[in-house]
Subunit: 236 residues, 4 copies
C-alpha cells in the first residue's frame, strides 16, 4: 500500500475504535483518546481535542508527526489534536514496536491510579493478558514530555501493556490501535474485579510459575492462526 | 437573532440536553432538570415537572421569568415547571455569568452529599474540570429561596461549577446549558472514581501547585479554537 | 368503560410496564413481576411464570381473581401465572386502595433485604418519595399467604410504598401499576445511593420535621395538575 | 431429527446464546464461551477462539468431538475452537446429563473466585436457583484436564449448577446451553447482591430447611408445564 492508503486506513480504524471506548463504557463526554502509528511513515493519527464521540468520523482524525505536530494542510488539520498528543508521540518515538496507544479515565483504573499501588495479579485473566500486576507510573503533569517518559520508563521491558499513571489514569500500548484498545478494556475489567475482590477480603495471588505458564500460552496460542482474527473492528 | 429565535433555540438545546442526562445515566424516571438562560432577555427555559424523558420535545419546555414564574400564554405554559425552578431562577438572578443550570440525583454524587463532606481532589480530571475539591452546600428544604441561595453562596468565587447540596445532590452551573450538563456528567464521574479510591485506601491528594497548573491549562487550551466545538449537541 | 375494556387496558399497561423493569435494570432473565387491579371488577392482571421479557405482549398477561386463581377460558389462561401471584392477590384483597403491585430482585434492595435492616432516610429523594426509611418485612417462604401477609402487615398505615422482605427483596405498591413500578425504580435508586453513602462513612439522617415537609410537598404538588401526567407509559 | 439437523439447531442456539452473554454484561471483548452437546451424537458445538461477539453467526460455531477435537471438514473447522474446549469436553464426557456448559469472567463471580470462598446462601433467589451456596473449585491452569476435572469433581452430586474455579471465574452447567446461560446470568446476579450485602454488614443465612423447600418448589413448579417455555431464545 502507498503511504496515503496507510493513512486512510489508520484514520478509519482509529475512528471506529473510538466507538469501542464508548461501547465498553471507558469514557464519558469527550474524554479518552486512541492513536495509531501509520505504517511506513513517521506519522500517527489521533483524535481531535474536545469533540463529541458521536461526531468522530475518519476525516476528523488528525495526522501528526512523531514530534506531535499536526501535518500542515492534511485533512482535519484546522483542528487541535488531543491534548495528550505529546504523550502518544513520545511513546511512538521511543518504543518502535508500539503501533497503537490508548488513554482513558476509566473509573476503576483511575481509582487504583489515585492510590498509586499496582493492581495485584490474583486472577487468571490478568496473567493471560498482562503477565503479572499492572504497574504504576510516576505522577506527571501535562505540558512537557513527563507523561510520555513516565509511560515508556514503566512499560519498557515490562510484560504489561498497561500503566496506571499516578493520580491520573491508564495508558495502554499495543501492536496496533486495536490491540491497545483491547488492553484498555481489559485493564478496566481487571481493575474492577480486583477492587471487588479486595473489598471482600484478601485475595490469593497466583504463583509466579502459573502466571508465567498462563502468559506464555495466551500470547502464543489464543485466537486464530490468521493474525487478523482479533483485529476486525466490530460494527457497533 | 430576535428574542423569539433565542427562545426557540434554547427550547431545542434544553430538550436535547435532557436526553444527555438519560444517556449518561444521571437520572431515573422523571428526576433531574436542565435549564438555560435566554440570550437577550430576563428569561429562562426549563423542564416541566414529572414528565417522562421520552416525552420531552422543545415545545414541552417551559418559559419562565427570572422570578421563576411561567410566562403566560407561552408554549407549554399550561404545565407546571420543574419543582426546582425557584432554585434555578435564583442562580440566574444572582450569577449573571451563568447561562445554564443542571440538577440531578446521580448516585455517587448523592452519596457524598449524604455524608456532607467535599470530594477531595486526588485525580487530574478533577483538577482539570473543577480546579479542586467539589464543595458541599448547606442542607436546605425546597419551598423558598434557601436552595438557590445555598448554591450561589457556595459557588460564587469558587472554581468548581458543581456543588453537592447536603443530603440532596449535585447542582451544576455553566456558561450555557451544555456546559452545565458537562459538569453534571463529570461530577458523577469523579464522585464514583473517588468513592472507589477511598474504598481501596487513602488516595494521595494532588499538590495545590499542580492543581493550579492543570486547571489553568484545561480552561485555556483544551478543545478547539472555535468556542462552539464542545457545544454541538450529540445526536442520541 | 366496560369491564372488558378495563381488562384490555390493564393487559396493555402491565405488558408495557414489564419493559420498564428491564429498561431500569431491575430484573434479569425472567425474574420480577408487575400486576394491576382491574377497575370495576374483583380481578387482577399479572405476568406468566418464567417467560422471557422479550416475549411479553398484552395477550400473554394472565387474568386472575383476587384469590389468585386464573380465570378459566380467558386469554392466556393456558399458562401458569407468576409464582408470586398469591402474594399480589393477598395485597389486593387486604388493601383496597392499592391498584398495582411490583416485585423485583433488584440488586441493592436485595442486599439490604439480606441484612434485614431498614434503609435509613438520609437523602431528600427518599423523604419525597417514601416519607422516611424503607421498612423490612418478615422472612417468609413462598407457598402460602405468609409473603402477602408480611407485605400488608408492614405497609398498612406506613408512608412507604416499598417493603424489603427479609432475605428476599422489594415489593412495592401504588395507586396503579405505573405508580408501583415508579416505587420499584426509586427504591433501587435510593438503596444504591444509601449503600454508597454508608460505605463512605456515617451519613446524616434528615430531621423528622424536614422529612415531613418534603413528603407533604412532593405528594401534593409535584407533577402536573392533570393526574395522569406521570401515568403515560414511555415508549421504550 | 437427523444428526445433521441437530447439529444445525445447536449451532443456531449457541450463536444466539452468545448474544445473551453480551446483553447480560457477563463478558468483554472476546472473553467467555457457550457450548452445547449435540443430541444423538458424541459431539459438541462451541465458539471459536478470540473472535468478536458481533461476528458470531451459526456458521462460525465449531463442531468438536467429546475429546475436544475439531471435526475435520465440518463448517468452520478451519478455525481454532475456544481455548476452553478441553474443559467443556471433559464435562460432557463425565456428566452425561449435562447438555450445556458456559464459562465467563463476569466481574463479581470472578472476585469471589479470587477469594476462594463460597458465596453464602442468604437470599431466596439463590436457594431457588442453586439450592445453597455456590461452591469453589480448585486452582487449575489451562493446558490439561485439570479445569474440567475440577468442575466435575465439584459439581457432581451438588445442587449448584455453578462452580467458581479459584482465581479464575465461573463455569456453569445445564440441561442444555440455554439452561447453562441462565445459571451464568444468575450466578453473577447473586454474586453481586451478596457482595453488596457483605459490605453492608453480616447477612443472615437462610435456614437449611427453608433452602430445601425453596429449591424443591422452584425446580418443580416454576415456569410453564410446557418444558420449553424458558427455552425459547429471546430475540436480541
Amino acid at each position: 500500500m502507498t503511504i496515503d492508503a496507510n493513512i486512510a486506513s489508520a484514520r478509519l480504524r482509529v475512528a471506529e475504535l473510538h466507538a469501542e471506548l464508548v461501547r465498553n463504557e471507558l469514557v464519558v463526554w469527550t474524554g479518552g483518546n486512541v492513536s495509531e502509528r501509520v505504517v511506513g511513515g513517521d506519522l500517527m493519527v489521533i483524535k481531535p481535542s474536545g469533540v463529541a464521540y458521536d461526531d468522530l468520523g475518519p476525516e476528523d482524525m488528525i495526522l501528526c508527526t512523531l514530534d506531535g505536530q499536526v501535518v500542515p494542510n492534511s485533512i482535519g488539520s484546522h483542528r487541535n489534536p488531543s491534548s495528550d498528543t505529546a504523550a502518544h508521540a513520545y511513546v511512538y518515538r521511543n518504543m518502535p514496536d508500539v503501533g497503537g496507544v490508548v488513554h482513558t479515565h476509566s473509573t476503576y483504573a483511575v481509582a487504583w491510579s489515585a492510590l498509586g499501588i499496582p493492581i495485584p495479579c490474583c486472577i487468571t485473566a490478568m496473567a493471560d493478558e498482562f503477565g503479572g500486576p499492572i504497574p504504576i507510573g510516576p505522577f506527571a503533569v501535562i505540558g512537557d514530555d513527563s507523561i510520555g517518559r513516565g509511560i515508556v520508563d514503566t512499560l519498557r521491558g515490562h510484560r504489561s501493556r498497561a500503566v496506571l499513571m499516578a493520580n491520573h489514569g491508564p495508558f495502554t500500548i499495543g501492536t496496533d490501535a486495536r490491540d491497545a484498545v483491547k488492553a484498555a478494556v481489559m485493564v478496566e475489567d481487571v481493575a474492577k474485579a480486583m477492587y471487588v475482590a479486595r473489598q471482600l477480603g484478601d485475595p490469593d495471588p497466583i504463583p509466579q510459575e502459573s502466571i508465567d505458564r498462563l502468559f506464555a500460552r495466551y500470547q502464543g496460542v489464543y485466537g486464530q492462526p490468521d493474525a487478523h482474527t482479533d483485529r476486525s473492528v466490530p460494527t457497533s
